[in-house]
Symmetry: C2
Subunit: 132 residues, 2 copies
């Protein structure tokens, strides 16, 4: 029952990039990485489990913050080397996926005219409270 | 006016991963890579320009297929190392972003019970017609 894991083209580090999208809003929440074990656990548990490259271990999303991601769909792209999760972001309303306390990690928007990145989305909860 | 490009944390190959989302539907269309020049061109032209790792050159999306992507927003994540584009997919209605002739590259969905990837989205146009 793990043949489906062999279909994924793992990179030289044994990882695959993962795009995380909120199912109900369509918002792209974050980008992360999985190894084989993380993807297997994600499918098994129905909640997002990533591989933390900085900590070099499995990262059960929400293990510290409580911001668990319920996984509705796991998709694979045409080249079998990128995964898309469609999730519900739990633990806060609206959902907080970013470690900065924001809804999405993609809160910096380029102002093309001025050539500057602008922070356009608010902090919903103080990270010092999230990760105390 | 290129200081904003220095904010991006380019990887060891000088690349950054790019998530491409259709603005009007919220659909995640594809995943690609950019180098510095590609990102600069994308901002300049308001259309998506990627870096093709297989061809080792700039890839003006739609240069062969006509499936150009009009870029409305360029976003950067909290770690400054992933880009999100919000686009309109031109050249066909509904938009075709995938080289297989499908709307999105993420057309394979995991059937968790059976442990198989299933193709769940239709081919909208024969790739042999797109890339003749």
């Amino acid at each position: 029952m793990t043949a489906w894991l062999d279909r994924v083209k793992w990179d030289a580090q044994g990882l695959v990039p993962v795009i995380v999208q909120e199912r109900d809003t369509g918002d792209v929440l974050m980008f992360a990485w999985m190894n084989r074990e993380a993807l297997q656990k994600t499918a098994e548990l129905g909640r997002a489990v990533y591989y933390s490259r900085s900590r070099a271990r499995l990262w059960y999303k929400g293990e510290e913050s409580g911001h668990v991601q319920l996984v509705h769909e796991i998709r694979l792209d045409c080249d079998d080397d990128v995964v898309l999760l469609r999730v519900t972001q739990l633990g806060h309303e609206p959902g907080i996926a970013c470690h900065t306390g924001r809804h999405s990690c993609f809160f910096q928007r380029l102002d093309v005219q001025r050539g500057v990145w602008q922070t356009v989305d608010p902090v919903l909860k103080d990270p010092q409270v999230i990760y105390r």
